[in-house]
């Protein structure tokens, strides 16, 4: 097998290792993964250097892997390939996220349009838009998180809505324009993680009209 790209090689070696020994462990072990990315000095092949903290890099890579581990093993390979190829935001904006201090991790779960849950451990003060973008979830932030559009609309589905500081007029003005507004809608850029929001679950509303299979059959 002649796989040339370093990043591909790391992912694939993990996949093939787990595939090679299905009986012992159908999943990649965490220690294996830790090994992979401490060994890898260039985890992000085309990444500019604006996120320069090595600690952040390896922490985030680990997060993504831990997330992948929770998926059914058959989808792991699919997961590896299905990640977005085309970044949605300028790199400069991803720098906001700071790794949580050990013991102070807050859990947040995003339910995407396909109904798939994605849980992350994040730090106090991170906003939902930055988190979603750092993990490549499909959330746009057309105005760059300045509360001037409604593209980062999320729906709070856990009991945390009432624990959040109330949306201000600017946020409500933008929510008024959001597609599929609900009683517990918020703008992702305005919701900051806090201790009382640990365990928060938000749904990403389906933005575009859903294309039905029947729309194509006649063609």
């Amino acid at each position: 097998m002649s796989i040339t790209h370093p990043s591909c090689r790391i992912v694939l070696s993990a996949i093939s290792r787990s595939a090679r020994s299905p009986s012992s462990s159908s999943r990649v072990s965490l220690s294996q993964l830790r090994h992979i990315h401490t060994r890898s000095s260039n985890w992000y092949p085309n990444r500019a250097s604006s996120i320069n903290s090595q600690r952040w890099k390896s922490w985030r890579a680990l997060q993504i892997y831990e997330h992948a581990q929770k998926l059914p093993s058959a989808t792991f390979a699919a997961f590896a390939r299905s990640r977005r190829r085309f970044s949605s935001t300028p790199i400069s904006r991803h720098g906001h996220l700071t790794p949580p201090k050990p013991g102070e991790e807050l859990s947040v779960t995003f339910v995407d349009k396909e109904g798939q849950s994605h849980s992350f451990q994040v730090a106090d003060g991170d906003n939902l838009l930055d988190i979603a973008q750092a993990y490549d979830l499909e959330m746009e932030g057309a105005c760059g998180g300045s509360c001037a559009c409604s593209t980062c609309h999320v729906i709070v589905t856990s009991d945390h809505y009432d624990l959040m500081p109330e949306p201000d007029d600017d946020e409500n003005d933008m929510l008024d324009l959001a597609f599929g507004l609900t009683e517990t809608s918020r703008l992702g850029c305005q919701v900051k993680m806090a201790k009382e929001l640990d365990g928060l679950v938000v749904k990403l509303p389906s933005m575009t009209r859903n294309l039905q299979a029947s729309d194509f059959e006649s063609k």
Binding site: A48, A74, S146, D173, L177
Partner: protein, 523 residues
């Protein structure tokens, strides 16, 4: 290469190698389907060459569609044609200069443009500079995203009097649109202004007229507009609509901004136009009503300027005065009322004329009753219809261009292969950035889906597209003496504009005519 792959991503080449190697080892755990059934890898649907898409127009609809198509169709190559040397359409020429945060979406567009799979071809007016059909042989699909370049007229007497402007022209002028660079509206003609129409463009016009000129100096409004605004005598702006406040098209943010302008007061609206118990209104109307009934931060006694919203009035004629023939002095309106079967607090309530009239003095009037798309030459040759009445290209809701004649039977409409539309030319001139993005994504999803499903595209009936894209069109452009502007060229213009802005303490000083823009490149 600016495509940032930030996550465990395996490129198609490597994963093919992996799959074949795993299969050779006959591993049951990993099957080819694990890799094949991934949602985002539509590639090589029918040929080994890339999917070639031409986009006409470089506004938000064009860019968001390009972004999504490039994301969903792995090997899509996009050429974007723009008639001006500068990109971004209404983000540059429509969004008000005091709303810089709305323009942040340009960062995304820049990222799209930095992809090697994207090409910007500015200063080439498809349909005028080069015939639209000359694109056809070289692409698999053409997306029309050229927006709405005209505005609706009122068609009432006196519309050509001096002092009557289209809001589109005024907005274009202060934003540096070359088409209206020399508009120089007569803001010194008098104190009273009437804006006809109650959309966000109408409120933008009112806000720019009422904002103190010093508050605009740091924005990217043109210096020429600043000079003219500094000499403005405007004291009161009346924003007039045919229906009531519950039917007005403006959004709450714009209304709130006007309410918060320093030393501008709001003349209260007749309370009978609002329901007695506003708490029963739906959320959006309720919040808007609260803003309108609360009124302005500045009080009428201390404020130097004022504005108001006048409802249930339909314009009848623009009149000049005997002492000043040819110049606007007053506007006559016909009063309207809600039809007996309409609920006045319903969004879709209808009005009818009462026959009674009222006249407002005005030395300036702006007509702001909507933008309108127009056809571009050559559409018919590509079987693309244009609905003149609606001002759109007929399409299914997903952006596939529909032709009334191309269905399977004699009387059915059907999609025109390889033709798509997005943005205002698709759904009419309404909506904010978020709705344009949603709509562009719907069009892009349709394109990606169609390509994957192998429905007919351009040239499917004969040998297929040449797959050359711009390289095939280039010769034609050269023959006609065109000077195409690349993305690198635009970056030079961009840099020059920023330098000019720096010199006068603002973010950017736009070039307001095409020859100035080109001089940056070719001098």
């Amino acid at each position: 290469m600016q495509l940032f792959r930030r996550t465990p991503y395996v490129c198609p080449g490597c994963s093919r190698k992996l799959v074949s190697s795993l299969r050779r080892r006959n591993l049951s755990k990993v099957t080819f389907n694990d890799f094949r059934n991934t949602p985002r890898s539509f590639s090589h649907a029918r040929t080994k060459r890339p999917f070639r898409l031409a986009i006409i127009g470089s506004g938000p609809a064009g860019f968001y569609t390009a972004y999504r198509v490039m994301q969903k169709v792995q090997d899509a190559v996009v050429d974007m044609y723009e008639h001006l040397p500068v990109p971004y359409g209404l983000v540059r020429f429509g969004v008000a200069p005091d709303h810089p945060e709305v323009k942040n979406c340009q960062e995304k567009f820049e990222e799209v443009a930095s992809s090697p799979r994207f090409k910007f071809i500015g200063n080439v007016d498809v349909g005028h500079d080069i015939p639209l059909p000359s694109l056809k042989p070289h692409y698999d699909a053409i997306l029309f995203a050229y927006g709405a370049s005209k505005d609706k007229k009122l068609k009432i007497p006196g519309e050509d009097l001096e002092g009557v402007y289209s809001a589109r022209a005024f907005v274009g002028w202060y934003n540096g649109l070359p088409e209206y660079a020399n508009l120089d509206p007569l803001l010194g003609a008098g104190e009273e202004v009437v804006v006809i129409g109650q959309g966000n463009v109408a409120l933008d016009v009112a806000r720019i007229l009422l904002t103190g000129v010093d508050a605009l100096r740091k924005t990217d409004i043109t210096e020429r507009a600043l000079e003219t605004l500094a000499r403005s005598k405007v004291k009161s702006v009346k924003v007039v609509g045919r229906r009531g406040p519950m039917q007005a098209a403006f959004t709450i943010k714009e209304a709130r901004e006007l309410m918060n302008l320093p030393s501008v007061s709001f003349e209260a609206t007749d309370s009978s136009l609002f329901p007695a118990d506003i708490t029963k209104l739906p959320r959006v109307q309720k919040r808007l009503t609260q803003v309108l009934t609360k009124g302005s931060a500045a009080s009428a006694s201390t404020a130097s300027k004022s504005w108001d919203l006048s409802f249930l009035l339909s314009p009848k004629s623009f009149n000049d005065s005997p002492s000043n023939l040819g110049s606007l002095s007053s506007i006559e309106f016909e009063k309207t009322e809600f039809t007996p079967d309409s609920d006045p607090f319903d969004r879709n309530a209808k009005v009818t004329s009462t026959g009674r009239t009222t006249t407002f003095p005005a030395s300036l009037a702006f007509r702001s009753v909507g933008y309108k798309s127009s056809s571009i030459p050559g559409l018919a040759e590509l079987d693309v219809p244009f609905d003149e009445r609606m001002g759109i290209i007929p399409n299914d809701p997903y952006g596939r261009v529909m032709n009334p004649q191309s269905g399977p039977g004699a009387l059915t409409a059907g999609p025109v292969p390889g033709m798509y539309c997005a943005g205002w030319v698709k759904r009419g001139p309404t909506g904010v950035i978020a709705s344009t993005m949603d709509d562009a994504f719907a069009s892009a999803d349709a394109i990606a889906r169609d390509w994957k499903q192998q429905v007919p595209f351009l040239n499917s009936d004969n040998s297929g597209s040449t797959g050359m894209g711009w390289d095939g069109v280039k010769e034609e452009a050269k023959k006609r003496g065109l000077r195409p502007v690349s993305w690198e060229d635009w970056k030079m213009i961009d840099k020059a504009e920023k330098e000019r802005g720096n010199a006068v303490g603002k973010e950017r000083e736009k070039f307001t005519n095409v020859s100035e823009m080109l001089k940056v490149l070719d001098s």
